[in-house]
Symmetry: D2
Subunit: 358 residues, 4 copies
């Protein structure tokens, strides 16, 4: 009889409960990892609220830190007991999309090999990480050993937040000497700020109203933090840049207001790098777009995954280039995950990210 | 007393007339060219209709082919009498934008060196090419000698149509083996089709309803031409691509309908390369954008200019890689330019482009 | 008892024989394909001559066209009997190198996930394609279905020659309007010429002395063919380009003489894209390199592989963008492969490529 | 009668003297700047030693900080008395090379518009900056106003050292998480280290034997400094990287030994970014190059110039992203420049860079 495990299960909109499930069977390409630390993402809250639909009964969560419990029969190169992470996005490596470098749109199992958001499987199309055990598909493409000396908490942001935040800077192709605006300084926006700093931006303007987040933002690399409740961020950014605008604007919230403001602060030829998960149609105002003649770019990025990405991110943590310690504000056991969801969903008590330890 | 010349002058919305103006004085960095052939652009029709505002009294036109009449005192490297073209966009070369490779957003004379659409001067912010003489600013950056053996008409599309059309393919970063859709097969769309073919697209799907344009489209490189009056182009393109969608969709009309359709036919991770001049706000439907998680890009391009760009384009004409002969459907003298505008603005008689010879 | 099959086996330098081997067992990630057509590569001749060392007893060949005979237990998405090709390079998809897009340097099974030339396995580190059956590792990343309507011979060049040749143009980042030189018009050079044409080069200068190859070169896209036995190719290319030099020079032979000539014909800032397999140290003459201050690039590329690459290449064949028919000059049965090697190694009878049919 | 000024003049190999010359006349596109601070470059020592030939009588130096004394008649956008720098490389902006973004190979005045190293004019083909006054050609493309609050010495490294050093990292296309080696920590190598750090390298290994330079190297961003007199740098770097090698190796000395070592420490697919000025032919050992099949790149870069580049570099200084203060180890008046050359050429007294104030 299958062993049982605890897991955070989506039942219906408004209801994620701690329930019990069988520990999964391990297929030839899979690995089973025992979760030692995980966390809750803003996307999980979208799921909780019913804004992003998933199947009832699904285990939620896509940010695993753990230990290899069991390896599939065709998996080589790892040993049981090894500490690993896997990205929120788990590309197959072998789909057409993945082979073309477009891992997040991995269409493993589809006719053409491309699927929108197909790389996002944990807590979306297969059971996720908020559980005692997690089955990692295409394990050889996804399990990244944790360097000795790094704690779970030091690498906890790598699977999603750090990868996504950095990708905002990377997709914006920030260059040494660029001026960059980052809209919203939640966990992803803060990592985008860190990414902009890491890539050589010489002036970073963050937009955030919460003083605690503004303080962390400065630590992550922001030179200015504009409080949008006190002044119009578009005006403020144009003032700070002497009317020129920014080379790259990173949107890290997912609203029409921030999307539009990000467009309006671009210099001609500038790039809007969008990270937000939107829930409405977007409008591009004609005047903010030079009628299509401004040589502007709008680029979107879904969290890059795969073990090589994870290795690189952990290397930046290991070398001290980025410190995400300040992002983990609260700790919970898995048994208290419903409380954790409640806190996180309502953004109480200055929460940025929670660490959940089964 | 200044010599006089004939010119097509914008008076007020609805009214471009053939009038008389002084032949311009030549400043140290300028060149005066005697126009031998020019043409009318769709943008000029926007100006005529008052949809794009320019100053009353301005000479219209931005597609010059001519002969150097007089060189500014600081201009070297050319001789009077030389046959030349200049791009529709005339970057300074020395603005910050231009030095950064963003020639079309050249901010020569501005505080920061960047200006939205600043590289477009002819028939926009300074007198244009539909005249007997044209003053070319920053002549050393903009005058491109015509290779021996090429006729005026062979290079007439280089200043704008060919440069813009090709840039749709270039900004889309088309790769060998890509599938590409091109929305609308007017002059720019046809050149975008030619550009997609030149860059190695292995399957090109054009969208166009006029049979004459569809026929030219096939000659320029389209493998399929979808008649949007007979079937929904999104469905048709998804059918042709077996449900996968296209790697790059080029928008060459400037409407919400084509913009949105271009988004909807993209494969995950695909790029919308937009060439259209829009006249309304644009909507990005949430579902056509994977809520921001599809790794999609929207890139816009204003016609690349400058003499090196013109040299390259004329090289493709000279080597027979592209033949824009079929695009010039009608011929007029400058004296008949009002008739030409009437024909062109109403798209009568199968007109694609007109050649105007002063 | 294992079924037997015929195979071209490397015994020792100077000796590749037709021998017998067991049909391989199929592991969980593998596929066994029955070869219907294959060919001999210049690299195989290096192996034959002992210039490139492989293990005695190895089956040679890396250009398979065939039919799926048996699928590994973990392989999904294919059916037995399906017509497929696999690239000469078979990346795992899941190594760090592969996940980083560097498929040819795939280090599957190594500690770090990178290995020089690690993606080249067939006929190098595992048994190859000149046999009745071929075991394809990491089958889901490598088996590419052949589009209906394409013959074996039409796709026979895709696994190596076309992929390598095109990559010379791609790694050179050829742009519309570029001038390109291609040194040597053997099978790879001819495909490099085709690739340069496909990417929009407006002037292609091939270097080749054999009249038959020169004729095919013109069909593949060359505008000029310089016979290096009649004039110095560096002088000729500088003359043809009016002293400017070429934007991109592709080296497709693998000698110091062609490498050096390719450097010398570059314009300042130009790129040498090297495809050759060298057998000696190379010298970069100081004066051909502007003492390191010429903004030049030297880029090397090993044949891109993987099923998505193969799909794209077959798409260019299917759409008629490239026709490699003229490259297959001779046909042999597998039983005659020793004769085929003899002909090919001595470049007799105008041979370009041979088709071998088991 | 022309006013006279003091200048450091190359007479013959071994002899640069402080002499007198007329203050230059100002042409329409020029600006005359009064030098307030300048410095000596390693290249000037090559000139002094006769290893790099320039005309007898030429004023040496290409790193100007000064004040606008007089503007050419066609120059707009500046005022006399303004504090400015100009890059070591002064592109025209209007040559074909410059318009194509290849500013350092600017061929202003040549038939084709490309010239190897053509952007380097100061102290090479026209009089340079080690003088009381300097004539800046194509002033509108080259004069970059110094931000208020920055001292001469803070921006003194921008014209050459910082621009060149950073370009080593930029041309290497360093990504977040890369491992980078930098060979030699002279002024350019130190700035390359700073550039690698600015672009997000997570592990930087510098090679240098002088303890003072090693100490500055760590401040500029190196994680490890390998003393090549104590251990073989190739072995050391392979050991530090666990056998994998580096993603990017930057050569900042200009010798066969460092060039070859840089090749040998590359991971498969890695890039050698070369900054050195070589004085001999270079050898690429076959085994260090995977016989041409390692997907390696060798890229060279000449110091990027032009006012936009200078603006960007000064922005990184102004924001505190880089501090070149430690590089200026000695100060001299122009009258003592012969002493300064003697100190600098013999690398006495721990000199890195000298500040020369007329």
């Amino acid at each position: 009889m299958a062993q049982k495990m605890r897991a955070a299960i989506f039942i219906e909109p408004g209801r994620i409960i701690l329930g019990e499930k069988p520990v999964p069977d391990v297929g030839p390409l899979d690995a089973l990892i025992r979760i030692t630390t995980t966390t809750i993402c803003g996307t999980d809250v979208h799921i909780l609220k019913g804004e992003y639909p998933v199947a009832s009964g699904l285990t939620i969560g896509h940010e695993p830190v753990g230990v290899i419990e069991k390896l599939g029969s065709a998996v080589t190169g790892y040993v049981e007991g090894q500490r690993v992470i896997a990205g929120a996005i788990t590309p197959s490596g072998w789909s057409n999309a993945s082979l073309d470098g477009c891992h997040a749109q991995c269409g493993a199992g589809t006719r053409h090999g491309w699927k929108a958001m197909g790389g996002w499987r944990f807590g979306n199309t297969i059971d996720g990480a908020q559980a005692e055990y997690l089955l990692v598909p295409d394990a050889m493409a996804n399990l990244a050993p944790i360097p000795d000396g790094l704690t779970d908490e030091q690498v906890l942001m790598c699977p999603d937040i750090l990868s996504t935040g950095f990708s905002g800077a990377e997709s914006g192709k920030i260059r040494i000497g660029d001026t960059v605006a980052v809209f919203a300084q939640g966990p992803i926006g803060l990592c985008a700020t860190a990414g902009a700093r890491l890539m050589g931006a010489s002036e970073i303007i963050a937009v955030e109203s919460l003083p605690a987040r503004a303080a962390i933002s400065r630590k992550m690399g922001a030179d200015h933090v504009v409080d949008f409740t006190k002044e119009d961020p578009v005006s403020a950014i144009l003032r700070i840049t002497g009317g020129r605008g920014v080379d790259v604007a990173i949107e890290a919230l997912g609203t029409q207001a921030t999307f539009e403001a990000a467009l309006r602060v671009l210099r001609p030829g500038g790039t809007l790098s969008s990270l937000g998960v939107y829930s409405t149609d977007l409008t591009i105002p004609l005047d903010a777009f030079s009628a299509g003649l401004g040589d502007n770019k709008i680029v979107t990025t879904l969290c890059p995954g795969g073990k090589e990405r994870m290795r690189r991110l952990m290397a930046t943590v290991e070398s001290g280039r980025v410190d995400t310690g300040a992002l983990v504000t609260h700790h919970f056991g898995l048994d208290d995950i419903e409380t954790a969801y409640d806190l996180f969903a309502h953004q109480r008590d200055g929460v940025l990210k929670v660490a959940i330890r089964p």
